[in-house]
C-alpha cells in the first residue's frame, strides 16, 4: 500500500481537477450513486430521448436564428435577393426571414432544422406519452412526472404556435387571425384580452415583438425547467422495465450508464441531429417566401396550422355555427365549444393516472410495465382517445383530403362530425376485444405450449399437432402480470343490521372497477394448478 502512495506523488491532471470540483460540489458522492446507474434496454424507452434531443436541437438552432431575425412590425419595402417579392411592402419580421433564407449562408438550413425539429419534437413527445400510457408507466410513483411531461407537451404546442407566427407571413398570420377570433369568442373578457394581447385592434403593431418574447424566453424557459425536473425524476425513480426473468418490482436490470448508456444515449443525440439535419437539407419546410407577407385582406386556401394544432383546427372546422344572442350579448358557441373541447381533450390526458389509481385503490409503487393487452380497458380507452384525436386531425385537413381524394368537403365534414362520436366507441370495443383475444392466446400458450407445426399421427389414426412446452423464462414472462379483482360495495347493511351509507362516489367507483376488472373484462391468468394438471398427462394433445 505504502509503495503505491509513494509512487503516486502527484495524481494525474484529470483526478486533480475532479478533486478540486469535489471539494466544492461534492461530485464524488453524486457520481457514486449515478455513474454506474442501470438503464433497461428497449426501443420504446428511447422515444423520450428523441423528444429531448430535438428540444436541444431547437434551442441551439433557435439561438442562431435570433442573431438574424428582427422581431419588428415596422413596414419596409423589400429590395432583397428574392425576385418575386421585390418592391412588396412587408414587416421587418418577414423581410428578415427572407434574408435568413436567401442571404445568410446556411441560414435556410438552420431555419429548416429548427422547424423540422419542432414538428418532430412534438411528435416524439406524443408517442412517448402514448408509450407511457399504454404500458402503465404513469402509475405511482410517476404521476407527477406524467404531469410534467403533459405540461411539456402543451407548452410545446404553444411555443411552436408562437414561433410559427413570427415570420408574419400570410399563412401564419391567418393562424394568428384565427386565434384572435377565438379569443374574441371567450365570454365576458374575450374582447379585452384580444385588445391587451395585440396592443389594440388586430393585427396591430406589437404582435410579433410580444410573441417573440413569449417564444424565445417565457415558454422555453419554463420548458427547460420542466425538462430538467422531468429528467431528475427519471433518475430518482429509476427507469421502469418490462416483466421477464430476473426482473422484479424491486430491481432494475440493464446496462450501466458508464460506459454503455453514455455511448448509446450520447450517440443517439448525434443520430437524431444527423437525421434531422439531412431532412432539412433535402426537404423544404414552410417556404415563407412563397406565402407572401401577411395582410388581413388576403388569404390562401389550404390554410392549416402545424400538425400539433391540427386537432384544434378540426374541432373548429366541423363545429356547427351555433350562436346565441341574448340581452345585448353574443355567445359564439361555434367557436367557444371547440375551444372548450380543446382544453377538455388535453385535460383528460392529464388526469387519467389519478382516475385509474382511484378506481384501483392501489397505493403501491409500480416499476414493472404492463403489456397493453393485460390492461384491456386502459388500452381501449387510450385507443379511443387517439381515434378521436386522429379523426379531428382529418377534420383539420378536410380541404386537402377533399382535393387529393376527390371527395366533397361537405361530406368529409359530416363524416368527421358523426365519427367523432361513433369512432371512439367502436375503437374502444374493438380494442378491448383484441386485448382479451391476445390474453386468451397467452393463456393458451402457457397451458398448452407453442404450436410446433409438426403433425403426429396417433396409433388409432388421429392426427394431432405437437405442442412444444414453453421455457421457464417464457412461462414466467407470460404470467408475471397482476390482475385486480373488482371492488365491491359490500352488503347494504352492516353486521348490526344498520343500513350503511353508500355514497354516489363509491357506487361510481365500484361500477368503474367492475368495468375495468369485472368478469369478461379480463381473462383470468392461468394458475399453477391448471398448468400442472394439464402437463401431468391428462390433457395431452
Amino acid at each position: 500500500m505504502s509503495t503505491v502512495t509513494d509512487d503516486k506523488r502527484k495524481a494525474p491532471a484529470g483526478e486533480r481537477v475532479a478533486d478540486w470540483a469535489d471539494g466544492r460540489l461534492g461530485i464524488y458522492s453524486l457520481a457514486k450513486a449515478n455513474m454506474r446507474k442501470i438503464f433497461p434496454d428497449h426501443w420504446s424507452f428511447m422515444l423520450g430521448e428523441i423528444a429531448l434531443y430535438s428540444f436541444i436541437i431547437i434551442i441551439l438552432t433557435g439561438v442562431y436564428l435570433t442573431l438574424f431575425f428582427h422581431p419588428s412590425m415596422n413596414e419596409v419595402v423589400y429590395h432583397g435577393s428574392y425576385v418575386p417579392m421585390q418592391g412588396i411592402r412587408m414587416t421587418e419580421a418577414y423581410a428578415s426571414t427572407l434574408e435568413i433564407s436567401f442571404d445568410v449562408r446556411g441560414g435556410l438550413l438552420i431555419r429548416q432544422i429548427h422547424h423540422w425539429a419542432a414538428l418532430i419534437f412534438l411528435a416524439a413527445m406524443f408517442v412517448h406519452m402514448m408509450r407511457v400510457f399504454f404500458t402503465g408507466a404513469f402509475r405511482k410513483p410517476r404521476e407527477i412526472n406524467w404531469l410534467f411531461g403533459f405540461l411539456l407537451f402543451v407548452l410545446g404546442m404553444f411555443t411552436g404556435f408562437t414561433g410559427y407566427s413570427l415570420p408574419d407571413d400570410l399563412l401564419s398570420g391567418t393562424g394568428v387571425r384565427f386565434t384572435q377570433g377565438a379569443i374574441l369568442a371567450t365570454p365576458v373578457v374575450g374582447t379585452y384580452i384580444s385588445f391587451f394581447l395585440f396592443g389594440g385592434e388586430f393585427p396591430g403593431h406589437d404582435m410579433v415583438a410580444r410573441f417573440y418574447s413569449i417564444h424565445i424566453l417565457l415558454l422555453p424557459g419554463i420548458m427547460l425547467g420542466l425538462v430538467v425536473a422531468h429528467l431528475i425524476l427519471v433518475f430518482y425513480h429509476k427507469h421502469t422495465q418490462f416483466a421477464g426473468p430476473g426482473r422484479t418490482n424491486k430491481n432494475v436490470v440493464g446496462m450501466p450508464l458508464l460506459p454503455v448508456y453514455m455511448a448509446k444515449a450520447g450517440g443517439f443525440f448525434f443520430l437524431v441531429f444527423g437525421v434531422i439535419a439531412a431532412i432539412a437539407g433535402l426537404f423544404t419546410i414552410n417556404p415563407v417566401w412563397a406565402l407572401g407577407p401577411y395582410r388581413p385582406d388576403q388569404v390562401s386556401t389550404g390554410a392549416q396550422p402545424d400538425w400539433y394544432m391540427g386537432f384544434a383546427e378540426g374541432l373548429i372546422r366541423v363545429m356547427p355555427g351555433w350562436e346565441i344572442n341574448l340581452w345585448g350579448h353574443t355567445l359564439a358557441l361555434g367557436v367557444f365549444i371547440p375551444l372548450t373541447l380543446f382544453g377538455l381533450v388535453l385535460v383528460a390526458l392529464a388526469v387519467y393516472p389519478f382516475i385509474e389509481s382511484w378506481v384501483t385503490g392501489d397505493k403501491r409503487e409500480h416499476h414493472i410495465l404492463d403489456r397493453p393487452r393485460n390492461a384491456p380497458t386502459r388500452t381501449a380507452l387510450g385507443v379511443a382517445w387517439i381515434t378521436g384525436y386522429v379523426i379531428m386531425l382529418l377534420g383539420g385537413g378536410n380541404d386537402i383530403f377533399a382535393t387529393h381524394f376527390h371527395l366533397s368537403i361537405n361530406s368529409i365534414t359530416w363524416f368527421v362530425r358523426i365519427s367523432y362520436f361513433v369512432g371512439p366507441v367502436l375503437a374502444f370495443v374493438i380494442t378491448r376485444r383484441i386485448c382479451l383475444g391476445l390474453q386468451r392466446r397467452d393463456k393458451d400458450k402457457v397451458l398448452h405450449g407453442r404450436e410446433s407445426g409438426i403433425i403426429k399421427r396417433l396409433p388409432h389414426g388421429e392426427f394431432v399437432e405437437v405442442h412444444e412446452q414453453l421455457s421457464r423464462q417464457e412461462l414466467h414472462t407470460l404470467t408475471a402480470h397482476e390482475q385486480y379483482a373488482p371492488a365491491e360495495i359490500g352488503p347494504s347493511v352492516d353486521e348490526n343490521g344498520v343500513e350503511r351509507k353508500v355514497t354516489r362516489g363509491q357506487k361510481l367507483r365500484a361500477k368503474l372497477s367492475k368495468g375495468y376488472y369485472g368478469e369478461g373484462n379480463q381473462i383470468p391468468k392461468p394458475t399453477a394448478d391448471e398448468y400442472k394438471e394439464i402437463t401431468s398427462g391428462h390433457g395431452h394433445h
Binding site: G200, V253, G281, R295, D297, R317, T413, Q506
Partner: protein, 350 residues
C-alpha cells in the same frame, strides 16, 4: 373512508394469500432469475472485435471528412446558386450540400458510438436494487417533529395577527404586477363597431387603386374594394383593411332572394364584408354559378344571393352588407358604414 370501501384484498398482491391460493410447491411460473450471459462474436473472437473497431474508426473518419465537406461547401457554393437534383427539383446547392454533409458528420459520430457500445462494450446485464420512494416511519417522525418545533418557535400558530396580515400582504403584492399590465393595449370601446366606410366614400378597386363604376362590374365577376383614402403605405392600413375589406359581385337582380339585399344593392351589384363572421379570415372563394362563397379557413359557406346567410360551416351569422349607390360622377359609393360590426362575434356585439 374510501379505503375502507375498497378492501385491500382486491389488490393483486393481497389476493394470493387472501383467497387462499396456496403457493404451489415448485411453482412452474416462478421467476427463474436472470438468464446466463451469452457471449457475442466479438467477445470470443478477437478478429471480429478488430473488425468492429475498424468499423467504428471508419465511421468517425467519415464524420471528419463530412465536416471538411461542410466547410468546403460553405466556401465553394454561392448562396444564390440553384442546381437541379433529381428528384428534389431546382434546389439551393448550398442548403443541400450543407444539410447532407452536416447530417452525415453527425450521424456517423452517433453510429460509431452506438456500434462501439453494442459490439465492444460489455453487454452483461446487471441488476440494481430499488428502494421505496417513501421514507420509513422513523424518518417521517423526525421530519414531523422538526417541523412542529420550527412552527412552534416561530409562534405562527399563536400570533394570529402576524399570520393574517402576512398572508394579506403576500396576497396583495402581486396585484401591482397585474395593474402594470393595464397598458398592454387600449380598451375596446366601440372600435370593433366602426370601419372606415361612411356616407359618400367611393369604392376603390384593390387591383387598380381607381374608383369603380357600375359598368366595370360584370355579372359573374369578383372584385375587391377598399374605402377611398386608405392607401397601402398608411401606418394603420392593416388595422383598417382588416375591417373594411369589401367583396363586390354582380347578380341578376331577379336572382336576389333577400329583399334587404336587393334594396342595398345597385343594379344587382352587392357589396359584402370580405371578413368572415366566424374568426375573421378573408372569405372570398366565390362560386359564380351557385353564388356561394366559401371560407378557406373553416369552410363556412354563405349564400350571396340570399343576404349572405350561412348555409354550411361554423360561422354564426351572415356577412354584413354595405349599402351602396352611385355618386354624381358615376362612381360606386357607400351610403354609410356597415350597420353591424364586421368580422368575428364578440361578447359585446349583441
Amino acid at each position: 373512508m374510501s379505503s375502507q370501501e375498497i378492501p385491500e384484498k382486491n389488490l393483486p398482491s393481497e389476493q394470493d394469500t387472501a383467497h387462499g391460493a396456496v403457493a404451489v410447491a415448485e411453482d412452474p411460473f416462478a421467476d427463474p432469475g436472470l438468464p446466463p450471459h451469452k457471449p457475442r462474436v466479438q467477445d470470443i473472437d478477437e478478429r471480429a472485435a478488430k473488425r468492429s473497431e475498424r468499423t467504428v474508426a471508419l465511421l468517425f473518419t467519415l464524420s471528419m471528412l463530412s465536416t471538411i465537406g461542410f466547410i468546403a461547401s460553405f466556401v465553394a457554393f454561392p448562396v444564390e446558386k440553384i442546381v437541379y437534383v433529381w428528384p428534389l427539383g431546382h434546389v439551393s446547392a448550398l442548403n443541400l450540400s450543407l444539410g447532407v454533409t452536416l447530417g452525415l458528420a453527425l450521424f456517423c459520430i452517433g453510429a460509431g458510438a452506438v456500434h462501439w457500445a453494442r459490439t465492444l462494450m460489455s453487454d452483461v446485464e446487471v441488476a440494481d436494487d430499488r428502494h421505496p420512494i417513501e421514507a420509513d416511519p422513523v424518518v417521517k417522525a423526525k421530519v414531523m417533529s422538526d417541523f412542529a418545533a420550527g412552527a412552534e418557535e416561530s409562534a405562527i400558530g399563536r400570533r394570529k395577527l402576524i399570520r393574517t396580515t402576512m398572508f394579506g400582504a403576500l396576497a396583495m403584492v402581486p396585484l401591482s404586477g397585474v395593474v402594470l399590465l393595464r397598458d398592454l393595449g387600449p380598451l375596446p370601446e366601440e372600435k370593433l363597431r366602426h370601419t372606415l366606410w361612411g356616407k359618400g366614400k367611393q369604392l376603390i378597386n384593390m387591383n387598380t387603386n381607381e374608383p369603380l363604376r357600375p359598368e366595370d362590374v360584370a355579372v359573374g365577376s369578383l372584385t375587391f374594394a377598399k374605402p377611398e383614402g386608405l392607401e397601402e403605405d398608411n401606418h394603420e392600413f392593416n388595422n383598417e383593411i382588416a375591417k373594411a375589406a369589401l367583396m363586390i359581385v354582380r347578380l341578376q337582380p331577379q336572382d336576389i332572394k333577400d329583399k334587404r339585399e336587393l334594396d342595398w344593392s345597385h343594379q344587382g351589384i352587392v357589396a359584402f364584408s370580405k371578413i368572415c363572421t366566424h374568426v375573421g379570415c378573408p372569405i372570398s372563394l366565390y362560386e359564380q354559378q351557385t353564388h356561394h362563397v366559401l371560407c378557406p379557413c373553416h369552410q363556412s359557406t354563405f349564400d350571396l344571393s340570399d343576404g349572405a346567410r350561412v348555409i354550411f360551416g361554423p360561422a354564426g351569422h351572415a356577412l354584413p352588407q354595405l349599402r351602396i349607390g352611385v355618386n354624381d360622377e358615376g362612381f360606386l359609393e357607400a351610403l354609410g358604414d356597415f350597420e353591424e360590426p364586421v368580422g368575428p362575434s364578440f361578447w359585446e356585439r349583441g
